[in-house]
Chain length 220, copies 2
DNA sequence: GTTTGTGAAACCTTTCACAGCG
DNA sequence: CGCTGTGAAAGGTTTCACAAAC
């Protein structure tokens, strides 16, 4: 047996990045399974997501001994554990930068709040939007960004501005002290190492789909 | 030297998936660089994206000999080559399923059309939306999905419906004959192997960001 | 019986380092 | 010179297969 106690975390640096991305998928699936079952085996969980049973067990074993031989994993317990690992076992305060089509849609998206994220302010250059509530969120001018981010202790930024303005807006978020940025603009941001960022480029995702459609073997 | 001639493609099955995802990023960066330069080295291109020079060269070499020693890569030529590889050197006809917040935002997103994707129809259950134009796209009832997809020869579907309706809507797209689905609903779809699909879960992305913020080493 | 956790093997991806080309 | 393309090495990830646990 490992010298790690149950639920004790390993150094996150030795956890493969691919494992972390699957953790979110496990969490999502477990939240559905919880409605009907109280335990699940690695085989069943893997099957729902298209992974092997061995992969599920290996992934979870990075973080502790969550399973019971002959039984499987207790769903509630595993959900709590994964949320602790991901850091979503508490609320995160988030800012939206850019209240165009996409920004507005994201402000109204219920999936964020259900996972512990609260959008507490939005920013836009368009003065006709400033001062209004959009999807229940107050819109401020970009000039107020630093002040509001500090005042409301915002930790994460969602960036939904046009590509040409994205780097500048990101710099301001960094300046204001956020710890992470989720970037929807189709550009690669250049940021200091002490700020995490992830890019989500919708056109890029569609290109990947395209490739896989165009290169499918005929007999598939 | 390889026995592959310039621009000749290898069997796509032997190309790592990670390489394909970087191809989209190379393309995006090259489209910016083209405005100021006519050639670029692997080092420069890699630096913009945070990849090593060796990785850029290795990735591109899967598909042919695009570079010139001592000079680098001709940007226009490389853009054309990557578009051919991804399959975006032609127009793709796309349907939007779900015209809620996110669906509407995606209908108005200019980034799709600039990369060769044309949204030619939208579908929604809400009868107050059916028959209207949203962002210039005609909205049909879900009942018309199969007919319209066939008539307009739609190849790809964007799925932006609530999670509980996603599998059913995806089944209908498959039934209607689409080749690929980009799924924004927070569920894992179960689809036949002859239909490609990619999931984009916005809450999941935010969780990944969270993890990387929460687990950053103090001295970073 | 079922299912976990994990060494060991297999497989996959990135980096190194340099011959060879322009 | 500078830069590519690529063998070989290093590093990372997944699968196999089975002893141990229930």
């Amino acid at each position: 047996m490992s010298n790690r106690r149950k639920n004790e975390l390993v150094d996150p640096k030795e956890v493969p990045k691919a494992v972390v991305s699957r953790l979110s998928l496990y969490l999502r699936e477990l939240q559905h399974l919880r409605l009907n079952e109280s335990t699940v085996s690695s085989g069943t969980l893997g099957q729902k997501l298209g992974f092997s049973d061995a992969q599920v067990r290996r992934d979870l074993a990075y973080f502790g001994h969550f399973g019971q031989p002959g039984v499987g994993y207790r769903i509630d317990e595993l959900i709590d554990a994964i949320r602790r690992i991901l850091g979503t076992d508490r609320k995160w305060r988030v800012a939206m930068v850019g209240v165009g089509n996409l920004g507005r849609a994201l402000l109204g998206y219920r999936g964020f709040s259900s996972q512990g994220f609260t959008i507490v302010a939005a920013f836009d250059v368009d003065s006709s939007k400033v001062g209004r509530l959009v999807e229940g969120v107050q819109v401020y001018s970009l000039g107020e960004l630093e002040l509001v981010v500090r005042e409301k202790q915002i930790e994460l930024g969602l960036l939904a501005v046009p590509g040409k303005n994205a780097q500048q807006a990101a710099d301001r978020l960094v300046q204001a002290g956020v710890s992470g940025i989720l970037n929807f603009a189709p550009v690669t941001l250049n940021l200091p190492d002490n700020v995490s960022h992830i890019g989500v480029d919708l056109a890029t995702e569609l290109e990947q789909l395209c490739f896989s459609v165009a290169n499918r073997t005929p007999e598939d």
